[in-house]
């Protein structure tokens, strides 16, 4: 392997494009990580089945469009609702029994993901599927020398919208106050007649719903197949954990990771970029396990 093959020299225009691509990647990772952020940040649950919630969202979109002829945009809210419901069931049936055992939720949800993947494969087969996106999302927007697919702009916009909605929900709504009080002190919250079990259930459902809607969006960009969740979940985890389970932590981390990945892979290649990124995250977590924004606190 010669050095030149491995290392792409710097050039301004493609480098700027790489930065734009980094934003797009960041928005994809952010959308994938958003639901996980809520679930991890408020409940401390490591949901390994998150990737499969994304996959379910994509398959729901595909089924709605392929069999029932629904337009793609309409599929987004529907898959939010359905996956949120599935998430709620998972929380009811499994996760709520494991709140005091966070490592066990990690493992149990891995079991859930195996069941989901194989069930989908049995029902729909393993073939990759695709969906049709509306005309206005299938073209390219040209700004100067930059060519940006409109679908990526759409996802970028949606990422911001979803972050905004989630922020409003968590920090401005009555429900958000309940969530945060349960987070901080379940006993005290109970004395204010907050049903913490209901709050947990709804929070998990909301997180799952966000995964569902992200699956719907990815179905427009990428392929749908039973294993697709695995391709998102690891990155999503790293975003969430590095971001400290905070909404804006995830926002920042996704941005930084997306840009770093894009720049590394511009200079070298995808695979190597991934290696460098993973190692950097491990080192970062060693020095700031609490995430990028959260102030350091004395342990125990």
């Amino acid at each position: 392997m010669s050095v030149h093959d491995f290392w792409t020299p710097f050039a301004l225009e493609p480098f700027i494009s790489a930065l734009i691509i980094g934003l797009s990647l960041a928005s994809i990772w952010l959308v994938a990580a958003l639901g996980l952020t809520i679930i991890y940040g408020t409940m401390g649950v490591i949901n390994m089945a998150h990737g499969e919630f994304i996959m379910l969202g994509a398959y729901i979109t595909w089924v709605l469009q392929y069999f029932l002829g629904f337009p793609w945009l309409l599929c987004l809210p529907i898959s939010f609702v359905i996956v949120a419901f599935i998430g709620w069931l998972v929380e009811r049936g499994l996760i709520r029994h494991l709140y005091d055992r966070p490592l066990d939720t990690l493992l149990a949800t891995w079991g859930v993901s195996l069941v989901f993947i194989q069930s989908i494969r049995l029902i729909f087969g393993g073939e990759p599927q695709y969906i049709d996106t509306p005309e206005f999302l299938s073209n390219v927007v040209q700004i100067g020398f930059l060519n940006i697919p409109s679908m990526r702009i759409f996802i970028f916009g949606m990422a911001l919208v979803l972050v905004g909605l989630t922020w409003a929900l968590l920090y401005k709504s009555n429900f958000g106050i309940q969530v945060r009080s349960v987070m901080q002190n379940p006993q005290m919250a109970a004395s204010f007649v907050i049903n913490s079990s209901r709050v947990y259930g709804l929070t998990f459902a909301y997180g799952a719903g966000l995964a569902g809607i992200s699956g719907s969006m990815f179905s427009g960009l990428k392929t749908i197949f039973p294993d697709m969740g695995l391709g998102y979940v690891v990155e999503a985890f790293l975003v969430v954990v590095t971001g400290g389970g905070e909404l804006f932590g995830s926002l920042a981390t996704a941005g930084i990771m997306g840009e770093m990945f894009s720049v590394f892979s511009y200079f070298t290649n995808d695979t190597f970029a991934r290696f460098v990124l993973f190692v950097l995250i491990v080192i970062f977590l060693r020095f700031r396990p609490q995430g990028i924004f959260t102030p350091s606190m004395a342990r125990r």
Partner: protein, 447 residues
């Protein structure tokens, strides 16, 4: 406790020594000798053949069809009377898309089921995982998928195109019709890299040039960094050796990025009917594929093959693509090899060894290598190379239409021969008995 532990250790040591003394065969006997000496085909039994593909897991998308078409071929042969009156008995195993299981199932097929031959696997990784087992038992493997070549093993017959055959016609055709500048995109593993080395050689002859080269992880679905570089380099066409799910993502994102297949088409080596169906017809339309076989090939044998297969109990997949056809050829070619082996063994079934089937498939008794005629092979006449046991074939170039089917735009006028070391002449020439190196030595089992 102190005493009992010491006693335990002492007791265990004495026990182990006792066992060792009592059963010397446990560690002395070479089980393999006796095992290999038993016949592989019995006088009054069937001819057993192993089918090693995945029916479950992510590889099942491709490999399940391979199993089905093999069963179809075996049914066809059995209906025609089998091999010299003996019925063929398929032993189907499920490799579960897991490398560990491929290796385990291969030992099972050879050692427990005692099949005479194994057909199977789609990926090079699974082929390489099972080859040490095949070689150890001097068994025989039919591998039906295109691969990179540069191997020279004495226990395998390949019925798919090698890297040197695959793009042989494609590159000059694309250069002539679209221009000299090409961007190479591939999945990040050996076959794409090896294929692209061949592409570069043909490019040089055709007067083309490589303006960029990129590899994405297997299963990767993010092509925007690659398209960023492509947009910058403005190639005339893209050479794709991206496989599987990634290939579908590549074509879909090609559309989303606003590229047009009539301006800058993708010339691929694996984007067949399965992939164009999965990516959506508009994403496949206009792109090119080089393969020895297309479902839409217009000849009586293929028309029979497509009809018979799709209407059989095995044709649920709805397509016949190049890999399935190569698998089908493998079974047919194998049957001819067994017939020759029977003759070589003087009619004694029990004297046939898997290795003998391979040896007689080459240049045997002046009859030339085994092959299939236009009437037998859907892709037209093919035969086994008597030296390296890959296949002689005519590469064809198809352009994908808006229905997901390919129209043949060019067929090689002559058969193109396989040469696993085409671009490594310094390494030697692959012959039936091994790699003949330039220094005159012969190296066996070059893996």
């Amino acid at each position: 406790m102190r005493v009992s532990r010491r006693n335990f250790v002492k007791g265990a040591a004495v026990g182990a020594a006792g066992v060792a003394a009592a059963f010397p065969q446990l560690y002395i006997k070479d089980h393999g000798q006796a095992w290999g000496a038993k016949p592989w085909i019995y006088k009054d039994g069937n001819v057993k053949v192993g089918l090693l593909w995945s029916q479950t897991g992510n590889l099942s998308v491709v490999e399940n069809d391979s199993t089905q078409v093999s069963l179809f071929a075996i049914d066809k042969l059995n209906a025609e009377g089998g091999i010299a009156g003996k019925q063929i008995e398929p032993v189907v195993v499920d490799a579960k898309s897991d490398i560990k299981v491929y290796s385990e199932k291969m030992t099972q097929l050879i050692l427990r089921d005692r099949v005479a031959t194994v057909h199977g696997s789609y990926t090079s990784a699974s082929r390489r995982a099972v080859m040490p087992i095949i070689m150890k038992w001097n068994h025989l493997y039919y591998y039906p998928t295109c691969y990179e070549g540069r191997e020279c093993m004495q226990n395998i017959i390949n019925t798919g195109p090698l890297a040197n055959q695959h793009s042989y016609d494609l590159v000059p055709y694309m250069v002539k019709n679209f221009g000299p500048k090409v961007y190479l995109v591939g999945s990040n593993y050996i076959w794409p890299k090896e294929s692209n080395k061949n592409v570069k050689v043909w490019l040089e002859r055709a007067g083309g040039e490589v303006v960029g080269e990129d590899y994405v992880p297997l299963g990767g679905s993010e092509f925007s960094p690659v398209f960023n570089k492509i947009r910058q380099q403005e190639p005339d066409w893209i050479m794709s050796t991206v496989v599987g799910d990634s290939d579908i993502a590549l074509h879909r994102q090609f559309l989303q990025e606003g590229f047009k297949s009539d301006k800058m088409p993708i010339a691929a080596l694996t984007t067949g009917e399965i992939e164009t169906a999965a990516m959506g017809h508009e994403a496949g339309a206009g792109h090119f594929l080089s393969a020895p076989y297309f479902q839409d090939l217009k000849n009586p044998t293929n028309e029979w093959f497509v009809d018979a297969y799709l209407s059989s109990q095995y044709g649920g997949g709805g397509v016949t693509h190049y890999n399935m056809e190569e698998t089908y050829l493998g079974i047919l070619i194998w049957k001819k090899g067994v017939e020759r082996a029977l003759e070589e063994a003087g009619g004694d079934w029990e004297a046939i060894t898997p290795r003998m089937i391979r040896d007689v498939s080459g240049n045997w008794n002046g009859q030339g290598p085994v092959g299939l005629s236009d009437e037998e092979s859907p892709e037209g006449k093919v035969w086994i190379d008597p030296d390296n046991f890959n296949i002689w074939l005519k590469p064809k170039i198809g352009q994908c239409g808006s229905n997901g089917q390919f129209t043949i735009v060019k067929e090689a006028p002559e058969h193109v021969g396989p040469d696993p070391f085409a671009i490594y002449p310094e390494r030697g020439v692959c012959k039936a008995d091994g790699l003949h190196k330039p220094d005159g030595t012969i190296q066996k089992d070059v893996l």
